[in-house]
């Protein structure tokens, strides 16, 4: 799967993630999916866990975002969150809680100061095991 994100959206995510550090930042992504997924809108939402170890997207904000996507003809493409102190790859908990095999899961690592790393992943259950595949993410 190929997926694109605008540099301006990447910058917004990064700036927000820095601003709430050490807490994890999170949100949703939406756009088009014509074979290549194009992220057209990044939603910056509240992590109601307010910790550096977990995130839970505020369901009220999630509902508002879903309605906004619908109103703007955008398709929900998945979610994103930051790893303030760890690499850009799904943790065991990320995998356990990734229950939408149609979603792209973006993880922004802030581990290397000044060098954010953003990757996208696909997670699906195969015979009871979560299988992770990295997607081809391009910042445009």
């Amino acid at each position: 799967m190929q997926i694109t994100i605008k540099k301006s959206d990447f910058d917004r995510m990064y700036e927000h993630a820095l601003s709430v550090r050490p807490e994890e930042a999170c949100g949703l992504i939406a756009g088009r999916d014509d074979g290549v997924r194009a992220i057209e809108k990044v939603y910056i939402l509240t992590n109601i866990d307010h910790t550096n170890e977990h995130f839970t997207i505020d369901p009220k904000e999630q509902l508002t975002a879903i309605k906004d996507m619908r109103a703007n003809g955008l398709k929900p493409l998945g979610n994103w969150h930051s790893h303030p102190e760890s690499p850009s790859r799904p943790s065991e908990e990320d995998k356990r809680l990734a229950n939408d095999s149609s979603a792209s899961y973006l993880i922004l690592s802030l581990m290397e100061e000044g060098s954010p790393v953003l990757n996208a992943f696909h997670v699906e259950s195969v015979e009871g095991e979560k299988v992770v595949r990295k997607e081809e993410l391009t910042v445009i």
Partner: protein
């Protein structure tokens, strides 16, 4: 009766509950789903007792979370 599910209008049987709708819609991993009816969140313990009404607007929200 007519209700709206995830933005789509649907005709369903009178007396349908939130649990019944979850089954009807083949919702994946219902244990990770939050349901709102007319923008009010329904406690999962009340899914079976919450009867939907004509004109209700229902959204299924997948829990989105994780950890490092």
């Amino acid at each position: 009766m007519k209700i709206t599910v995830a933005g789509e209008k649907k005709e369903v049987a009178d007396g349908l509950t939130v649990s019944g709708l979850i089954e009807l819609e083949n919702v994946e991993t219902p244990q990770y789903v939050t349901v709102s009816v007319n923008e009010e969140f329904v406690d999962s313990g009340a899914f079976e007792s919450t009867v939907l009404k004509e004109g209700d607007e229902i959204e299924f929200l997948y829990f989105m979370g994780g950890g490092r």
